[in-house]
């Protein structure tokens, strides 16, 4: 099992296949979260992400290990960006590779859902006339 966890200034989506491919894996599943141009019908200009970096990394490690134990993954990747991000920029990349596809599909969903619940990272939305720290929806 190999885990690849990072907090970065910019997400690099071009290397993810190399990062996740593995001789024992017949499937790779990746989720990329990106900056959307609206929130509740209001135009968003950009987002700002802040992390409690050391804890974010250790929480992501815990999540990656949980996923590996549950689905028998060969490789896991979890990268999150910090700083200002413009519309369409990637902000989070998670993925897994496993012998068969169902394990990596399920694990990928778990990785992003659990990251959003637990990992100490915060986003601020910038609109034309205000900016607000996001309070997550259940």
């Amino acid at each position: 099992m190999e885990i690849n966890i990072k907090i970065v200034d910019q997400i690099d989506c071009t290397r993810v296949y190399e990062d996740l491919s593995h001789p024992g894996s017949g499937g790779v599943c990746v989720f990329i979260g990106s900056v959307r141009n609206t929130t509740a019908n209001e135009a968003v200009n950009e987002l700002f992400f802040e992390a409690y970096e050391a804890m974010a990394i250790s929480e992501m490690e815990v999540i990656a290990k949980e996923a590996t134990a549950q689905w028998g993954l060969n490789k896991v990747i979890m990268h999150h960006a910090i700083g200002t991000k413009k519309i369409e920029e990637p902000v989070v990349l998670v993925g897994a590779s496993s012998a068969h596809r169902s394990a990596c599909f399920e694990a990928c969903r778990f990785l992003i859902d659990t990251l959003k619940e637990r990992v100490p990272i915060w986003k601020k939305e910038f609109f034309d006339n205000k900016n607000v720290w996001v309070t997550p929806h259940p």
């Binding site: 999150h80 100490p120 915060w122 601020k124 720290w133 997550p136």
Partner: protein, 79 residues
């Protein structure tokens, strides 16, 4: 003893860290939360307020000591 703040909690407190002297420092996580919520009533408006001790989520009854790394974790919103 230093406490670190992030996101909206940092904005409410007006600083990314506060220094407490050993005397005024609460003994437990629960005590720290009570003290902060009194001192900064706007923190009460948040849907949750967690405390991290040495980079791990802490439970209310955990005790605080001089060398702990303590952080206040408002509702997270990564991803």
């Amino acid at each position: 003893m230093k406490i670190h703040f992030f996101g909206i909690a940092k904005e409410i407190v007006g600083s990314s860290e506060l220094d407490y002297s050993a005397l005024e420092f609460p003994k437990t996580v629960a005590g720290l939360k009570v003290q902060l919520l009194e001192q900064y009533p706007k923190l009460q408006e948040l849907s949750s307020l967690a405390v991290a001790l040495n980079k791990k989520y802490a439970t209310e009854e955990m005790e605080l000591s001089q060398n702990d790394e303590i952080a206040i974790i408002p509702p997270v919103s990564g991803g």
